[in-house]
């Protein structure tokens, strides 16, 4: 039984291959019929019968293959019904038209001619209907209109879809299944598991269908994501036959998988709200992005992602010619990174850079150069600066005052400079400062403790104490012992 149904489906899958033959033949026949009425193309007339014959026979073969494919049961019954019967009628009318053509050639009569043309036209109607519903079965009902411009959709009175995922306004009140899980399935699963198409006898478009599962039984085990068929298949090697979504289709992101697993682990509820389910930190941070895509990003990350205006290429070239390293941070943005060396006259160069690229410079490396406070004054004007390396330079406490308005400064390297606790005070107002390197400076542990106590989120590194441990004296037992 199993064997025979396999071979039937094997042949059935040739249906999508063969179906283009009758479409082509019959449409060609129709075209020839009308073209041949003109004197210029009358030579086509004798060939019409041959084309119709080919069309009818290939339509019959296609229909048989189609019936075999339907055995697989992957398709929604409603659409399949229309497709199947319009296809069968198409075959009947194709043979009818062919036969009438033959009759017409034998003895021309008005009656036969009319019947022939009527049959031909009806056949073309069934061809269009069967073709359209076949397409809907394979690609989904909205395949044709999905990318129709929204303006035309509105004119035609069709529902207009929002571009991109919809943001959730009130996260706590959002229903997990309806607002989070269903939309994921809609974009990643439903093109093959929907009302009209049910690959593997599985539909995923409604709650009932999800609970019912597919030909191998339920697709998830409420409360246990790892044992759920759906999750197992998502984690299979992408080249594995059972991997979902199949190779070549858009894949789920790590975050989407995490949400699906979370929902199943929490018992796969259909009506619970986000606030009613437990979510660990990882899930929580992903959930936050559903309400605000920038939720987990720092102000600096948002700034860098937003971009800046294009720098003047002419000026960039001038710096390059002088051998000063002003480079794009990356090929996909206008941000600039500047690296200065001992040989450069740093203070003057910085003054010029602050005028030429006040918005574009975001990384500046002036380590181990003759930089002084005068140069720092220029640096203070580079308002989108996020990383600043001025270690081993001649800057002083007073110079740091110039940096007080760099609101995006995230990383500052002062190691090996003369700055002291007094200089640290100038940095207190920097809202995005996260890393400060102050090893071998005058900055004291006490000042650092105070700085952090006043609410700074900054990680200040004052260097490490040398602590050599003799690992050979640590007792090593032959078998592992937990502490």
């Amino acid at each position: 039984m199993e064997q025979s149904s396999d071979i039937i489906i094997f042949f059935g899958r040739f249906h999508p291959l063969f179906l283009h033959l009758p479409i082509g033949f019959l449409a060609l026949g129709f075209l020839m019929e009308f073209m041949s009425r003109r004197e210029k193309f009358s030579y086509l007339k004798p060939a019409i019968g041959f084309v119709l014959g080919l069309g009818a026979l290939s339509a019959l073969l296609t229909a048989i293959l189609g019936l075999m494919l339907a055995q697989a049961g992957d398709y929604g019954e409603e659409l399949l019904f229309i497709h199947q019967w319009s296809g069968i009628l198409l075959v009947l009318f194709a043979f009818g038209t062919w036969w009438l053509y033959g009759q017409k050639e034998k003895k021309a009569s008005l009656k036969i001619n009319r019947a022939y043309l009527g049959s031909f036209s009806l056949m073309m109607v069934f061809l269009a209907v069967a073709g359209h519903y076949g397409g809907s079965l394979t690609h989904g009902a909205n395949y044709l209109t999905q990318y129709l411009p929204n303006g035309i959709k509105q004119l035609a009175g069709m529902p207009v879809e929002e571009k991109g995922p919809k943001l959730i306004e009130n996260l706590d009140e959002a229903v997990v299944y309806t607002d989070i899980i269903h939309p994921i399935m809609e974009i990643r699963c439903n093109s093959c598991h929907n009302a009209s198409k049910k690959k593997g006898d599985l539909q995923m478009h409604t709650r009932e269908a999800l609970l019912k599962g597919g030909e191998n039984g339920p697709i998830f085990l409420a409360g246990n994501a790892t044992e759920s068929e759906m999750i197992k298949r998502i984690h299979l090697d992408p080249n594995h036959d059972d991997h979902m979504p199949p190779k070549g289709k858009s894949q789920l992101t790590d975050e989407q998988v995490l949400l699906l697993e979370w929902w199943i682990n929490e018992g796969a509820p259909f009506d619970k709200k986000v606030a009613e389910l437990k979510a660990d930190q990882e899930v929580q941070s992903v959930l936050l992005t559903l309400a605000d895509p920038n939720a987990n990003k720092s102000a600096v990350e948002i700034l860098l992602a937003e971009g800046t205006t294009a720098p003047d290429q002419e000026k960039l070239r001038a710096y390059a010619e002088k051998g000063i390293s002003v480079k794009a941070l990356s090929n996909d943005s206008n941000w600039l990174q500047v690296t200065l060396y001992k040989k450069d006259s740093v203070d003057q160069v910085l003054e010029k850079l602050a005028v030429d690229f006040p918005e574009q410079i975001t990384w500046l490396d002036a380590k181990d150069t003759p930089l002084t406070d005068a140069g720092l004054a220029a640096v203070g004007k580079m308002k989108n600066l996020t990383r600043l390396r001025v270690e081993k330079t001649r800057i002083s406490d007073a110079g740091l005052a110039h940096l007080a308005r760099l609101e995006y400064l995230e990383s500052l390297n002062l190691y090996g400079t003369e700055v002291s606790d007094a200089g640290l005070e100038h940095l207190a107002g920097l809202p995005n400062l996260r890393r400060l390197y102050a090893w071998e400076t005058g900055i004291s542990k006490e000042a650092v403790a105070e700085f952090i106590a006043t609410g700074g989120k900054v990680d200040i590194n004052l260097g490490y104490e040398v602590n050599v441990i003799d690992s050979l004296n640590v007792e090593v037992k032959p078998v592992a012992v937990n502490n």
């Binding site: 990356s330 996909d332 270690e391 007792e475 592992a480």
Partner: protein, 495 residues
Amino acid sequence: MSKRISLADEQRFRYLQSKTRRHFLKQCTTGLGALALGGMMGCQRSPGLEASGQKVESLLRQVPHFAPKAKRIIYLHMAGAPSQLELFDYKPELAKLDGKDCPQSLLEGKKFAFIQGIPKMLGPQAVFRPRGESGMMVSDNLPHFSTIVDDVTLIKTMHTDEFNHAPAQLLLQTGSPRLGRPSMGSWVTYGLGSENEDLPGFMVLVSGGNTPDAGKSVWGSGFLPSVYQGVQCRSEGDPVLYVTNPSGMDGSLRKQTIDAINRINEKEYQEFGDPETLTRISQYEMAYRMQTSVPEVMDIKDEPAYIHEMYGTEPGKTSFANNCLLARRLIEKGVRFVQLFDWGWDMHGVAERESLDKGLTIKCKPVDQAMTALVKDLKQRGLLDETLVVWGGEFGRTPMQENRGGREWPYKGRDHHTEAFPIWMAGGGVKGGFTLGETDEIGYYGIKDKVHVHDLQASILHLMGMDHEKFTYFAQGRDFRLTDVSGKVVHKLFA
């Protein structure tokens, strides 16, 4: 005193002297015709050649695909493959199986380098403790490393395709188990160029008494222009062979010699258009600059005493510790990729030196101290944010005891194992105190978040701001990339 005339000028002068009009007419009859024909048929030097043979200066302007997290890499390759079961992968269940026969299911369809018949399971030969705020399990073989776990991302589920050292090292470092592909360091310097005009962008330091089994190909440039190959430095004697002037030759004479050679090479290039000639020219220029820059950077005597104590370095010796300190100094100077190889991690248990309970502990001691010092030192200098440190071997080791020749050995050892091995990374945009992946109860297979060698390469390139699928080089008739035809960026690693 007459002005000294350079070799090149002298050669040209003599050549011109010997040429007469008669020579020209005699020799050039076919030449002129061929020249004319070539011109008519549009034969010119192909424009692509120049692009690949850029001079070093222009390399300084290469820009990544997207904003990078890391600007430089230090790759610490433990050649021979350290045992994960005695260092990072805590398996109490394996301890219970110690001495029992290995189940047949683990042996079926597997190839081992030395294991024969049915081996016995071998419990962990080390004590593990949770360390740091993250509670990462680390063995007592690595007491220093235990203090930096919160700066480290540990991948427990690396896996590879090769179970012998040389092909596995090649696969890890070049993306292919066979010879001929450019190494990771060559790719990175080819893509991003150097940040220091006076030093090579890719430098290699070797310790442990041997070069890696795969030989120098693990830092070769393959089909990339050879200017991108790793430059090996020694920490004993001349750091680079023949970098100092021979006796009787001063700097200016050396400069003149190099200028003369370069002029000849430039003529050669104009005539044949071979990009390797440009590489040669820039290498000569680089070598001249390296005469001052290399001895300066390679001399660790000027480091303060506490730094030597921290790393465990002894100036003048060849050791992993010295190489770690040198790596930091090179990174400080803007070298793009520093590759360290430390030989001697192949603990098969056929001698005490190769035993897990003694040899490994002794091997770990200086390495643990130096690698930890490197991470801390980079951090206190503010370099760790921009520098990715990667540590690991080319594969892992079996949970079974090796029974080479079918016999029992007096020492505890493990065979090569491809299915699960660890790699840790620090800085350069990876998470701190984070462990990726889980292995099964005996550390045989990865069961969650497996990371293939190509995935690691893709992720490292990603951190450097490069898309491993777009970053290609045309050679032998097709585009090549470091990750061959696979590799997936592991976003979970990134902070």
